[in-house]
């Protein structure tokens, strides 16, 4: 009895290993290179235009939302604010759209791109909660990392990086400034852009225990803490800061409901983006700002959505399409028929590894039936009693090809 149980333990281990690596190898062999669709709103024809890879090599379609085909050059001319350097090269600048004239400088100064991928959301990737608070007015041309870093505990605690000990003076100074501004420790969220490769520094947005949002900066060594009017009941999940010379928007704020707001320089006012069917846990979001329009483009592996907005973020046009890369291929169908389930260990939408069983649905019954047939045939050929070894067939019934291979290579003792 015990050796039989030991065999089944080994079979379970073999099934687990196979359900990770066999689907992985299958995808390695069958996967085709199909990039994501590039979707834009054309300020020239006032329609969405897209470029999509539809096969191997450089097989692209370039169309507008009405199905009109374009060559590459025309496509780029339809979105001149994206390809403004080519427009200049082709002698098309300055250009006039809707009675307004745009030269290279105007386009450059009025362009901005915001991006939010699921991995960037605070709770979807690990992040050691120790941050450098840069000097916002360094008095030199480049930003520098300070000689300390802070953590938010029951105070704003600064640690000297050289001695790895708490800097009591700096800690007291910032903690008092925070408390005087009304901050209630501990912090729920600390959000900033930790980099010196940015035009200037805007410090951190910190959400306190009551849900109130504070803007914290270090200016000439002194704390500057501003309590923002952002509603405390908004349910802030993430803030992605993006310092930009335009100084219109601090960054993107994501709520627990999945709404996206822009935090403006105008008294920390919020602008809610009119997104429909946006799922922050699965979709990449891009906000493209140009001199005339704002376009939010968001997509998962299957569908791409877009909403074009005017300069006041009011929607003027919407579009969505199933991408070529999202269509079910023969390889996908065979995969689902062959493998009843698979174990997902990596997730490109998260910085955390997974170990999740993904079921492949009813199509897998084909593979299970074939595996059972082969299993019974092998048992007859090897003269194994089905009555005695029925658990082997039960394993195949639930695990298909994995079970068939496992019970075949780890034979029972006779």
């Amino acid at each position: 009895m015990v050796p039989r149980l030991a065999r089944y333990a080994l079979i379970v281990l073999a099934i687990v290993v196979m359900s990770v690596y066999m689907p992985f190898l299958y995808h390695k062999v069958s996967e085709k290179k199909v990039g994501k669709t590039q979707l834009f709103f054309s300020p020239v024809i006032k329609k969405f235009v897209f470029r999509e890879m539809v096969g191997e090599g450089h097989n692209f379609v370039t169309q507008d939302e009405s199905g009109n085909d374009y060559d590459r050059m025309t496509f780029e001319t339809l979105i001149p604010f994206v390809y403004y350097k080519n427009m200049e090269l082709w002698g098309k600048l300055p250009m006039t759209i809707d009675g307004r004239t745009f030269d290279k400088q105007t386009i450059k100064e009025n362009r901005q791109v915001f991006e939010l991928k699921p991995r960037m959301i605070a709770d979807r990737s690990p992040r050691i909660q120790v941050f450098p608070l840069l000097e916002s007015k360094p008095g030199v041309t480049r930003l520098r990392f300070p000689e300390d870093a802070f953590r938010m505990t029951d105070r704003m605690e600064f640690i000297n990086v050289d001695t790895n000990t708490v800097d009591q003076g700096l800690t007291d100074k910032f903690t008092n400034a925070m408390k005087q501004a009304g901050f209630v420790f501990p912090a729920r969220l600390t959000a900033g852009r930790v980099s010196i490769l940015k035009p200037f520094d805007e410090g951190f947005f910190v959400v306190d225990a009551n849900g109130c949002t504070y803007h914290v900066k270090r200016v000439r060594g002194e704390p500057v803490v501003v309590k923002t009017p952002i509603p405390s009941d908004l349910g802030i999940r993430n803030i992605k800061m993006m310092e930009n010379k335009k100084k219109e928007i601090y960054g993107m704020l994501l709520t627990n409901k999945g709404d996206i707001h822009l935090i403006t320089y105008d008294g920390y006012g919020l602008i809610k983006l009119p997104l429909m069917d946006y799922n922050p846990d699965t979709m990449d979001l891009k906000l493209l700002i140009n001199p005339l329009y704002r376009t939010a483009v968001y997509s998962d592996d299957h569908t791409i959505h877009a909403v074009a907005m005017d300069s006041r973020y009011r929607p003027i046009s919407r579009y969505q399409r199933v991408m070529f890369s999202g269509r079910t291929t023969m390889a996908d169908t065979v995969f689902k028929a062959l493998f009843p389930f698979w174990i997902k260990t990596t997730d490109k939408t998260s910085g955390y590894s997974r170990f999740d069983v993904i079921w492949n649905g009813r199509l897998a019954l084909i593979g299970i039936a074939l595996s059972l047939f082969f299993g019974i045939t092998v048992m007859y050929a090897r003269k194994f009693s089905i009555r005695k070894y029925w658990p082997d067939l039960a394993i195949i019934m639930f695990t298909g090809i994995y079970g068939l291979i496992s019970v075949s290579i780890i034979e029972p003792e006779r």
């Binding site: 149980l5 281990l13 690990p126 050691i128 120790v130 941050f131 450098p132 955390y352 170990f355």
Partner: protein
């Protein structure tokens, strides 16, 4: 009797356990020296930035340390017994063969686990010397799957070493190797925070599994 078996196993592996221990301590001494050197030639704020923001794992070379330890102890414990067929003598001791096998495996597991815990202690202490406690805790969480894989490496080695038939040794090796690799799926820090418990729990099945090759050895079934 079981305590006697444990003592017998200790006598068998103590030399190799000592070698593995020295190897592990040596790697952590090097980690300390390496970090000390790094903090001497680089600005500390840049090293913290690389560690916390970019995700540089300054202790990455300990990744396979406990795997090597597990293989050393597993091979030292079972390979000589199998080559010289001395294991047959152990199976004739007045104790149930399955209990005897599990006791041997428990002894080896304990040996690997003790070194693993020492590794965890040394890692935390060294990292906490140069980084704030968040960095040290993160290093521990990051290294946890690597440390756990040492136990799987030991069990996989024991499983393979005890199996009498060569073709089956390859099958067991593939299962153990494949399972081991499940603990090395991420390159960033703390990637296993959510998922480690699942493969760790399933890997416990390696413990009863070792009874099968021992049974096959005793009964010489093919």
């Amino acid at each position: 009797m079981l305590s006697s078996i444990l003592y017998k196993e200790w006598l068998k592996v103590r030399l190799f356990w000592g070698v593995a221990l020295v190897l592990n301590i040596g790697v952590f001494v090097y980690l300390f020296v390496d970090l000390r050197h790094l903090f001497t030639i680089e600005h500390a704020e840049m090293i913290w930035y690389q560690a916390f923001k970019i995700g540089t794992l300054h202790y990455a070379y300990m990744k396979y340390l406990l795997v090597i330890t597990g293989v050393i102890i597993g091979a030292a414990q079972f390979t000589p017994e199998m080559i010289g067929h001395r294991f047959r003598l152990s199976l004739h001791l007045p104790v149930r063969p399955n209990s005897m096998v599990l006791c041997c495996v428990l002894a080896g597991l304990l040996g690997v686990a003790v070194i693993g815990m020492l590794d965890a202690f040394m890692l935390y202490t060294i990292i906490a010397r140069f980084f704030p406690r968040e960095g040290a805790e993160s290093a521990l969480l990051t290294a946890l799957p690597w440390l756990f894989s040492g136990l799987v490496a030991y069990l996989g080695t024991a499983l393979t070493a005890m199996e009498p038939r060569l073709s089956r040794k390859f099958v067991y090796l593939a299962i153990a190797g494949g399972f081991l690799w499940l603990f090395y799926q991420g390159n960033d820090y703390e990637t296993y925070n959510w998922a480690l418990w699942k493969p760790a729990l399933i890997s416990m099945l390696f413990i009863p599994s070792v009874i099968l090759p021992a049974y096959r050895y005793r009964n010489r079934s093919s």
